[in-house]
Amino acid sequence: MSGVRVLVGTRKGGFVLTSDGKRQRWDVSGPHFAGWEIYHIKGSPADPNRLYASQSSGWFGQVIQRSNDAGKTWEPVGNKFAYDGVPGTHQWYDGTPHPWEFKRVWHLEPSLTDPDAVYAGVEDAALFHTTDGGQNWRELAGLRGHGSGPHWAPGAGGMCLHTILLDPSDPKRMFIAISAAGAFRSDDAGKSWRPINRGLKSAQIPDPTAEVGHCVHRIAMHRSRPKVLFMQKHWDVMRSDDAGESWTEVSGNLPTDFGFPIDVHAHEPETIYVVPIKSDSEHFVPDGKLRVYRSRTGGNEWEPLTQGLPQSNCYVNVLRDAMAVDALDPCGVYFGTTGGQVYASADAGDSWSAAVRDLPAVLSVEVQTLP
């Protein structure tokens, strides 16, 4: 029987959850790298035993770990993330120029075809690439250098490149998102970039429709329709049908359109999931109720999914990289909370149960579907 492996990054270590295709009983291993912040763990689509983990610490900086045996053993690989050339400046919180300074890796995106090739999204925002399994990292400097970089500014969580989407139909096209700069697209394998933020409106910046400066929290796509993108912005849930050339709001009847993650059903490209959060100043779910909202119409019409989720006295958040879907049928949906629970649904969100409770605050959740 097929199964799933859920890779969980937390504030104090990494965990690997495994289950068979029923996705009812879970084996939990970890903590891996105990005491370190594990921002992200992700497996290679080309070799599911090859995992990469971003391990960081306020004391000891950044480490990248690699596993060749599905997380049973790990080895540290290269951790030198040096900006290309003179790093230059971006805007600081007070509007003054501030030099780019590497802080940590937020997101690791392995190549769709090569287990040794990985993209890394880092803070301060930049995109790095390795082609030797993580031993050496090189900046794709066209992103910071395309012109708008000096106008980027950190959000409250830091100026992070947190989303990397690879177009499965075009190996030269990729999308990234930065808080608080916006979404960007490359059509030449990362050499050159341009902002794709037309249609976004952000009241928190001086020009609400500026080309850059938007606090994009997450973007997602379905593999079968890589020109259709969904976005959870600081406020607003957005949709693009033209690879980011233009965006329209699809928040519809959501109780609040603030939130962090957004994801797409594995088999239904118009079915999407978000977790509404009360506001930008109250980072917890509204009314003490943990509700995932699902739209089967690509946005605008949303239904709350509550079965098995706490519906009173719940005040957790779900961070931007902490939701994922598997490829089984029915589609499994997973998310982790800042309260340390990882919830799993084996029926596309209709019902939920905790795969594990009481972990450290969850930073990221990824899932691998196993043969």
Binding site: G35, W59, F60, V63, P76, N79, K80, A82
Partner: protein
């Protein structure tokens, strides 16, 4: 032989015990000790000193013989007791909660 004591997270990363012993060529300075440490355990590069600037990370300290050497120039000689191996050179994670 110079003894270096590492904080627990770096011991785990390098898969070593509390202390490691290093053969340091030339004058025994903090910089030379760290060069030797990173040469023997490359996974420690970037965790004590910044990869690019080679500056001590903000929340790492160097102690020896009851003294804080964190602000001493890295090319200054270490205390005799450290160079003789009588006392360890300590790499310490600064106190912090959470």
């Amino acid at each position: 032989m110079i003894r270096v004591e590492l904080p627990v997270h770096l011991r785990t990363l390098a898969q070593v015990d509390r202390e490691v012993e290093l053969d340091v060529r030339g004058p025994a300075t903090a910089g030379a000790v760290l060069d030797a440490l990173e040469a023997r355990y490359p996974m420690l590069r970037g965790t004590i000193r910044d990869h690019v600037t080679q500056q001590r990370r903000a929340f790492v300290r160097y102690f020896a013989c009851g003294r804080d050497l964190s602000h001493t120039p890295v090319d200054a000689p270490l205390p005799d007791a450290v160079t003789r191996g009588a006392e360890p050179f300590l790499v310490v994670g600064a106190m912090a909660g959470g």
